[in-house]
Symmetry: D2
Subunit: 137 residues, 4 copies
């Protein structure tokens, strides 16, 4: 049993390109919001707070694989169903299914890490914090 959180998006005129369909980078914009929304709904504080408590500055993306199944256009209401498909030691797979009513529009599996920051400004993968993992069950 995995927890699923839904994030809702209205497609706007400006999200569409001259072919009158959603310009695809906007799907990733929404999926990134859905990714963070998942943690917010699970009770995880904003990243500038977790930075102090856990050293976590965010969950940058390592790998993403997306399939675009149907087009969408302005006026559409999309619902992104987000869950964690797998927890690993230093990363996790977050799965997003973008639905328009019962129609699958796009789906995406992301590998993300919980990132810390070194003194030189570079970032690195932390062990998945148990407190966050527990919050997401």
């Amino acid at each position: 049993m995995t927890r699923t959180v839904v994030y809702q998006v209205r497609v706007e005129f400006g999200d569409c390109d001259p072919a009158r369909i959603v310009w695809f980078p906007n799907f990733f914009r929404w999926i990134d919001a859905a990714s963070r929304h998942f943690f917010v709904e699970c009770g995880v504080p904003p990243w500038h707070e977790t930075e102090q408590a856990l050293g976590v500055i965010g969950t940058p993306l390592v790998d993403t694989h997306a399939k675009f199944v149907k087009t969408a256009s302005y006026g559409d209401l999309l619902r992104i169903h987000t869950s964690v498909a797998e927890w690993r030691g230093k990363s996790f797979i977050q799965r997003h299914r973008v639905m328009r009513e019962d129609t699958l529009v796009m789906e995406c599996d992301e590998v993300r890490i919980f990132a810390g920051r070194r003194a030189d400004g570079s970032i690195f993968a932390l062990e998945v914090p148990g407190a966050i993992r527990d919050a997401c069950r």
Copy 2:
């Protein structure tokens, strides 16, 4: 031997997020530009012209798989190396490697189609036009 075209990007302040690294949907914005730039450099006309000549309204994305290898931040100059890795009957794989000097920052394999539009407004995959394929050699 495949043709490779380079598209250059300056990373701007507004492309970065509160973690001070490029917010990842912007990579897809640049890759989409690199994809079209590839065809422009190969001599393919803009899509509103190909629409009349070939029925092609653009090259929408069907599937994309990206790996984020290094972070980038504002002030960075990125060079996206784009080629067609494979031509299929009704689709093609376009490969993009985002470099900062000799460092690989991100790489991405896309499956794209040449799209036509039906009378009802929906889009569909055309056979890869021979004229475009020849232009890209």
Copy 3:
């Protein structure tokens, strides 16, 4: 008495820049959505339908003047209060007030036109259609 329509926005992580505040072009993204949302709420059809019925392809911006009063950041819920402050012969002034609860965050007066398209592809200002003006009262 002018009609006011409210458009709601959640500020996302990716809307913010390295200073951790909303990167200002995103305000214009939301205001453009609020502008169209105003017409939708007043019962005006989508632009690809008005194109056939009235020759209107959209309401492009001619002039905008915005004041940024307070910063906003991710997690904020913004409500954009939109009204038409003035109807002119071939243009109108749309006013947007972006609020976070009782706090004014940003305000913006836009001059927009109802645009038609000429045979050569260029656009021009139509007389404000009476049917649309009446719908917005």
Copy 4:
């Protein structure tokens, strides 16, 4: 005599909306880049360095007034001519003229401040640093 710096932009397919013209928030994206580019060309360091040396975290916008004179579309090459029209005690007016060859496409006057950050995270206007003002002559 005021110094003018030019920032060059290629308009991309994804910058355009279903009316096939640049979606206007993208002009502000480019103008923000031109604003920072102006300081970079004048020798001012990136904001994360000025934060330590001068307490300056960036130049947020207080007020902007833009006129949209001509439309632009993908394939266009735009050149943004940026200068400081006026220095004030705690703000300055930056002027941007977006040109396509000899045609004025858009112009914009911005009021910006040099921002510092208080301990509570809020930002405020600093006196215009003399070192930066001198660098921009």
